[in-house]
């Protein structure tokens, strides 16, 4: 039965990776447009609280997921107004969003602490789901997981196969030039920020509706920051985000197993692994940098104000 044990481990890894992947994919689109949103953690945790509250009130997981995404979107709209419309400093605004999101989520979720729900339903296809070794992994996940993988494909297609995606990448590369060409820099960036916020909110809702179906204050536990690191680790490419999410999710699961198995290594060291991996990726990126080109969106974090 080692195959089934392996499958169980893989299933938990995918489950741990999904929130990271969804939040990181949203942030990837934001950063590709040239905006650095450090408020992912706040948007995620607000999505978790709102999603759980709405799901409890309505009894519908779908309504909860939509509400979670909506809450992330609302908070990112505030971020967009600050940074894209008013051209405020992105780093300070992003940190403020994280603090605000953590605070708001506590308020929204206050009366739901300690409640428990059924976790989101898993896919069950007779025959397929029961396949030994692979059935649960491929045909027995919940809708969030499939949505996450659909996002990977959708974003990759959007960025490299559509005109709008090209415009978004161009704006992230050089907002002055694209503005001079008549592209709508601020509109595109605002939309990208909204998309990123909705993804972060959805990732948060996954935590409180599927991963651990309850609400606890600050339950994201730094996953928003891991998602941010993941975007850099993946050098701003969706497929690498997917691979990186599995790696980082794997590190999280490994940490739990290591603790259970009583390994000498402290769990804290293992939970630091994703960050160490990100630092390593940054070093490798700058060492192997192509002459003249840049891997990161060249306008990332730079405030844009249209000329007079």
């Amino acid at each position: 039965m080692t195959l089934d044990v392996l499958q169980m481990v893989l299933v938990t890894i995918v489950a741990a990776a999904t929130p990271l992947m969804i939040a990181a994919l949203g942030e990837l689109v934001v950063e590709r447009s040239g905006v650095l949103n450090l408020g992912v953690e706040g948007m995620m945790v607000l999505g978790a609280a709102t999603g759980f509250a709405v799901a409890v009130e309505t009894g519908s997981t779908l309504a909860g997921a939509v509400a979670g995404a909506g809450a992330g979107l609302a908070l990112s709209a505030l971020f967009g107004i600050l940074t894209v419309v008013l051209a405020a400093n992105q780093i300070a605004s992003g940190l403020a969003m994280t603090i605000l999101g953590l605070g708001l989520s506590g308020l929204v979720g206050a009366s739901y602490v300690g409640m428990k729900r059924e976790s989101a339903p898993h896919l069950a296809i007779p025959g397929l789901t029961d396949l030994p070794g692979i059935g649960r992994l491929f045909f027995g996940q919940d809708a969030f997981v499939y949505a996450g993988f659909a996002l990977v494909a959708g974003i990759a297609w959007f960025l490299w196969r559509t005109r709008a995606g090209l415009a978004l990448r161009a704006i992230g590369d050089d907002h002055t030039s694209t503005h001079a060409l008549g592209l709508k820099v601020r509109k595109v960036r605002f939309l990208a920020v909204l998309f990123g916020g909705a993804c972060a909110g959805l990732a948060g809702a996954y935590l409180s509706l599927a991963y651990t179906p309850f609400w606890a204050p600050a339950m994201t536990a730094g996953r928003g920051w891991i998602a941010l690191a993941l975007v850099v680790f993946a050098s701003w490419r969706p497929l690498r985000v997917m691979a990186g999410a599995m790696l980082f999710g794997g590190a999280t699961v490994l940490q739990l197993h290591a603790q259970a198995a009583g390994l000498g290594l402290p769990g804290q060291a293992l939970s630091a692994l994703p960050y160490l991996a990100t630092i390593l990726a940054l070093v490798l990126l700058s060492l192997g940098r192509r002459q003249g080109g840049s891997v990161a969106p060249a306008s990332l974090g730079r405030v844009f104000t249209p000329f007079r």
């Binding site: 005109r163 090209l166 161009a170 002055t176 030039s177 008549g182 940098r289 003249g292 060249a298 007079r308």
Partner: protein, 536 residues
């Protein structure tokens, strides 16, 4: 054209008879205000099909503003733009492109990390497939001799190739009017010739071209009509072919531009700046290594270094200024002192001064005041500090002396350096160093992006300094400038310096050939240079 009151078509009868009654595009009574500042003040401009129309003016005369209005990037406060006599509203660049207006920007509007094809696709109709785009690109490329690999990322291309993208991008939209903003400022003479051929061909196809340039020789060669702007107003119109470069410059600045006079017949002094076998490995990924550079600059002499940007100019400047240390002290000698291993301030103490190429961020800190900027380079040599404390009053007085001596125009008594126009900041920076009365002065691109009057002022100041016995090394891409002021000229190509030959014994063509690397790789540089010089 000459008066500033709005005067809609019909235009000059003589031209109207030849080319058609209504101009292709017209701008009448254009006023553009930014707060209190009026950038365009009742400007009229008519552009006809089949002509290359020059728009001349100093920095800040309002050329860019007018251009941006024509391309839909700015909306005029007052006035109208017409297309074949009908009033049109250019709300954005798409509207301008729809009317057949294309633009080749001076500072290329290209995304460096995208490919050539992607950059072009940005302005194409959204439904065009990548394949169709590549086919159109190669058609236009074949027609005009503009060849580009669609898959190359822009960062790997030279300035000339990047401009080719801009031009192809513009031509793919089959424009009726092409606006070119300082198109030759980054090109080698050879590349510029290629551009002129394309432009003449476009004109012969019946397109209109609006040509903006500081280089009056080009305007006289290419353009049949010119509109001259000064202080936001149209101050004149002429046929540049009938004018001299000097008379055009005089119209632009409103006064006669003094001809720069070299001090003649002065005997050269002793060698003051000596480079011997200077080699320097690249500092970064993008740098050019210097190899075996030897040069002697004597007192009273200006030696010019020509070359296309990126061939080691920045590295040579750094090695001279002390921003980069030479491998051996003896490779750079300042007035007999081996200075190759000395720092910048030490070199300044030995009587050398330096003006780098980048005004904002290298020569000056844009957010600091002019007096603080005076401190930055003169703290050690002008007594601006005592016991480690700054003497702000002395710095202010020094800044004021520079401002007065070099006619620096600015707002307020001691404004931030970044608020000055390019030409005025450059005058201040040149003045800051020249008034130190250096024995040795190294300048990189002394008049880059500076208008004619300020450029003449700067060049004269350099010649005067040499006349007082200083040794000057001027690195410049502008051949006209080098031939105007330099006694000897050498060419830097791929980190190698050709032998410095007297300017009177060489020609622009010979130097241009060396700039492109002609003759350097295969034969020893000095003999190639001599052969080139004698051939003309």
């Amino acid at each position: 054209m000459t008066d500033a009151t709005p005067s809609p078509a019909p235009a000059t009868p003589a031209l109207a008879g030849q080319i058609g009654a209504t101009p292709l595009f017209g701008a009448y009574g254009i006023v553009k205000r930014f707060g209190d500042f009026t950038a365009n003040d009742g400007v009229d401009l008519e552009i006809r099909a089949g002509e290359i129309h020059a728009l001349l003016g100093e920095n800040g005369a309002g050329k860019s503003t007018l251009m941006k209005i024509l391309y839909g990037l700015l909306e005029p406060t007052e006035g109208v733009v017409t297309h074949r006599g009908d009033i049109v509203k250019l709300a954005n660049p798409e509207a301008a492109r729809a009317l057949g207006i294309g633009m080749v920007f001076q500072h290329f509007s290209l995304c460096e990390n995208l490919t050539v094809a992607e950059n072009i696709a940005l302005v194409m109709p959204p439904d065009m497939s990548p394949k169709a785009l590549r086919e159109k690109m190669s058609t236009v490329g074949a027609t005009y001799g503009l060849h580009l690999d669609p898959h190359r990322p822009v960062w790997s291309l030279s300035a000339g190739e990047r401009q080719r993208i801009e031009i192809i991008r513009c031509l793919l939209q089959d424009p009726r009017l092409v606006i070119l903003d300082e198109p030759t400022s980054v090109l080698t003479p050879g590349e510029a010739e290629g551009l002129f051929t394309v432009l003449e061909r476009l004109r012969d196809e019946g397109r209109a071209l609006l040509y903006i340039s500081h280089r009056l020789d080009e305007v006289r060669r290419l353009c049949s009509r010119a509109t001259i702007l000064r202080g936001g107003k149209v101050v004149g119109a002429c046929d540049p072919r009938q004018e001299s470069a000097r008379s055009l410059a005089a119209m632009m600045v409103g006064v006669q531009v003094g001809e720069v006079k070299p001090p003649s017949g002065m005997p050269l002094g002793a060698p003051r700046l000596v480079l011997s076998n200077l080699s320097l490995a690249t500092s970064g990924l993008h740098g050019t290594a210097l190899s075996d550079i030897s040069l002697t600059v004597s007192g009273g002499e200006i030696v010019g270094i020509a070359g296309i940007a990126g061939n080691g100019q920045a590295e040579l400047f750094d090695a001279l200024s002390g921003e980069a240390s030479a491998p051996e002290a003896g490779m750079v000698t300042l007035d007999g002192v081996p200075a190759g291993r000395l720092g910048i301030t030490e070199r300044r103490r030995h009587g050398a001064c330096f003006v780098p190429e980048e005004r904002n961020g290298h020569a000056a800190a844009p957010t600091l005041s002019l007096s603080d900027n005076a401190l930055l380079s003169r703290h050690a040599t002008a007594g601006l500090s005592r016991f480690g404390f700054l003497r702000n009053a002395a710095a202010k007085a020094l800044a004021q002396r520079v401002i007065a001596a070099f006619d620096v125009r600015k707002a307020g008594p001691d404004p931030a350096a970044g608020t000055l126009s390019g030409g005025n900041l450059q005058k201040f920076l040149m003045g800051r160093e020249i008034m130190a009365e250096p024995g040795i002065l190294v300048v990189n691109q002394p008049t880059w992006g500076v208008d004619a009057l300020a450029a003449a002022h700067i060049r004269q100041a350099l010649l005067d300094l040499a006349g007082r016995g200083a040794a000057l090394l001027v690195i410049s891409q502008d051949l006209d400038e080098l031939f105007e002021i330099a006694g000897r000229i050498a060419v830097l190509h791929d980190g190698t310096l050709s032998r410095a030959v007297p300017a009177s014994e060489t020609s622009r063509e010979a130097v241009g050939l060396l700039m492109g690397g002609g003759g350097i790789e295969s034969t020893p540089s000095s003999s190639a240079m001599e052969a080139m010089a004698h051939a003309h």
